[in-house]
């Protein structure tokens, strides 16, 4: 309280007391370790990647290193590979996040309403999220393997169907694996949102004669809007950077399943072309920022709003 009065005083007088100044200094010092750590672990790599992206720099030809300005960006943005990869990534993102939202909402309602066995139900639903993505991806790949997978042997599925040998089938399996893996995460975020909807509202709605569906669309959904947007934001950002599922299910992004992250990997790690690869990384970073800005500014997502409304 004393601190608050002190700051108010200084605001009023326009001068800072010694005490306020020293407290301010203390605040800076307390923040400093966190800020420095952030600068080292995020600021420096991003800055360095940007610096690299302005160079022609291939580890195999160290003598040819030179500054080329935005040439690498021009190369990437004028290539057909980049744009087809952006399209593939967007398709995967859009479809998987939509399915996850619907499924996640259903699962969240089940978890919310579960009367008995709440613990086991929640645990069972969360299992896929707890499994290492690479392991899960291998399971999906082997399940659909044209030679040894069991899926072909299932009833209602053609014995000659081999989804992993064509583009549409491969994308389908990748999306399925992605949905299976991250729906629990979506459900968990939505469950937190559901907890924000006061029961009295539902009771009031019930008294007014609203059906269950009306109560869901008119009461639950609007009140959950912030939680839904946050969940969508997190999942979209994640899905856009999809890497492990594709890397395992269709190695190297074969058969037209190459996503932007796989392209970055191929250029950076396989071709060890640090300049071009860093340009791709920075472009992915910018795309992710754009998505975040779209969610926050256009749709009005706010991570703080959730707690704000709850109190």
């Amino acid at each position: 309280m004393e601190a608050a009065t002190a700051t108010q005083d200084t605001r009023r007088t326009g001068k800072k007391s010694d005490r306020a100044r020293s407290e301010r200094r203390l605040a800076y010092m307390l923040c400093a370790p966190a800020v420095i750590a952030m600068l080292i672990v995020t600021g420096y790599p991003i800055g360095y990647a940007f610096y690299l992206s302005l160079q022609k720099f291939d580890l195999r030809f160290p003598d040819d290193k030179e500054f080329v300005g935005f040439q690498n960006y021009a190369d990437v943005l004028t290539s057909s590979t980049w744009w087809s990869d952006v399209a593939v990534t967007s398709i995967i993102t859009l479809i998987s996040v939509s399915i996850e939202l619907v499924l996640g909402m259903a699962i969240a309602l089940v978890m919310h309403r579960a009367i008995f066995g709440r613990g086991p139900v929640r645990a069972a639903i969360l299992v896929p999220y707890g499994i290492v993505t690479v392991v899960a991806a291998f399971a999906w790949r082997y399940a659909f393997d044209p030679a040894s997978g069991f899926v072909q042997g299932l009833p209602l599925i053609s014995d000659t169907a081999a989804p992993l040998t064509n583009q549409a089938g491969s994308l389908l399996v990748i999306i399925l694996a992605e949905v299976w893996k991250t729906t629990p995460f979506m459900a968990l975020l939505l469950l937190a949102g559901l907890a924000l909807v006061p029961d009295e509202m539902h009771e009031a709605g019930k008294v007014d004669g609203a059906s269950a569906w009306q109560r869901f669309t008119k009461i639950t959904l609007p009140l959950m809007r912030p939680a839904i947007l946050v969940a969508l934001l997190f999942r979209t950002l994640d899905a856009f950077r999809i890497f492990d599922n594709v890397f395992i299910i269709q190695p190297g992004g074969a058969l037209g399943t190459e996503t932007v992250s796989i392209l970055g990997y191929n250029v950076l790690i396989n071709r060890v072309n640090l300049g071009l690869g860093s340009a791709i990384s920075i472009l992915i970073f910018l795309a992710v920022i754009l998505i975040a800005v779209f969610f926050v500014k256009v749709l009005g997502t706010s991570t703080a709003q959730q707690t704000g409304e709850a109190t």
Partner: protein, 441 residues
Amino acid sequence: MPAIEATVTSLARWGRLAIGEMRRGSRRIRAALATTVVAGLAVLTGCGVGGTEGGSGRNAINFYAFNEPGGSYDKAVEDCNKEADGKYTISYVKLPTDANQQRELVVRRLAAEDDDIDIIGMDVIWTAEFAAAKWILPWEGENERVATEGKLEGPSRSVEFEDRVWGLPFTSNTQLLWYRKNEVGKVPDDITWDQLIDDAVEKETAIEVQSAQYEGLTVWINSLIAGAGGQIVTEAGDVKVDSSAAKAAEIVSKLGTSKAAPPGMATNKEDEARIGFEEERSFYEINYPFIYPSAEAVGKKFQDSIGWARFPRTVADEPSRPPLGGINLGISKYSETPDLAFEAAKCMASEEHQAIAAELGGLPPTTESVYETKKVQDAYPFADLLRESIDEAAPRPVTPAYSDISLAIQKTFHPPDGIDPGSIESKLKDRIERAGEGKIY
């Protein structure tokens, strides 16, 4: 990694201690925690900076190579260590099974100037890339003589780059056309791809090939193009894509869209092809000779029913150019004991060890005279055809930008049932040129 295990055990002990102290509410908890943190840091630095995968010490030679499942590389290492009698000790560090990952691991370490690598078991296609990047040492004088003397044409060309020798050919490899004698009769050595596909369609069987989007596809395409007289990159290092690329595309497309296409053709690699042949899904198979010892596991009768012919021709009037694979031993520039490494490499790639690699690992020798030895003649009834194929094989492009070019080829010729031979020439040329300049297409 015994060091790490020990540290982890002691960490766990300190952890238990710390919890115990906490329960007892003692002040010594701080000391215990501090020690835990220090031990944790020790683990981190142990893995990151000072760690070595293989042996360390002044006489330690680390040999990074793919994991030869037959055990012949292990045997070579063991023999040479015995022979060296303490002068050096080779440790065999096994690389991942996936060919792309093998290269990625080695390239990453070499680019970081890792002095842990002494001898590299280099795939034949790495020579130009590693030499141009100055990651490996040239073989000069006596070393050069040992590296090239008595070697077959294909392997000795695979270690050359800009008029110098950069490796010692250890084992070689090539592909043959395998078939089931009892099902399809005798196949002539001068059969063309067109005839082969027509024959397979007629006999209602499939032809197993390596046509997933990976290095194996480049192997196939390169041989098809060379078989039509083409050469993707000339000796001078220029990109030269001509009508032979269209001819290669016609063959791939013809097989890919025909009834002779094996199931899963777009994702098949060496092992899928082997399994398809062993499960009698296909009576024809293009593959490396490792499938022959493997067939013995299926049954002696099955193995005896296998016939072999030279890699099929692209065009009727020119001999085929079979693929060339194999492992060359290169010495890292960052090795702290290069002289010992050269010596150890020469020991491992001796004629005796080449014969053992042929016997145990199914890997054809690089030295011509080894084909005459009883061991090889016994292991391979087709030894002479192998030698001929390796001698006349078409090396893949020798260029520092090989992996970029290979990725471009793979992307252009995939999937096998979806390529357009009419437009492939200009597409391939454009992509290879852009890839070679370090751009994307």
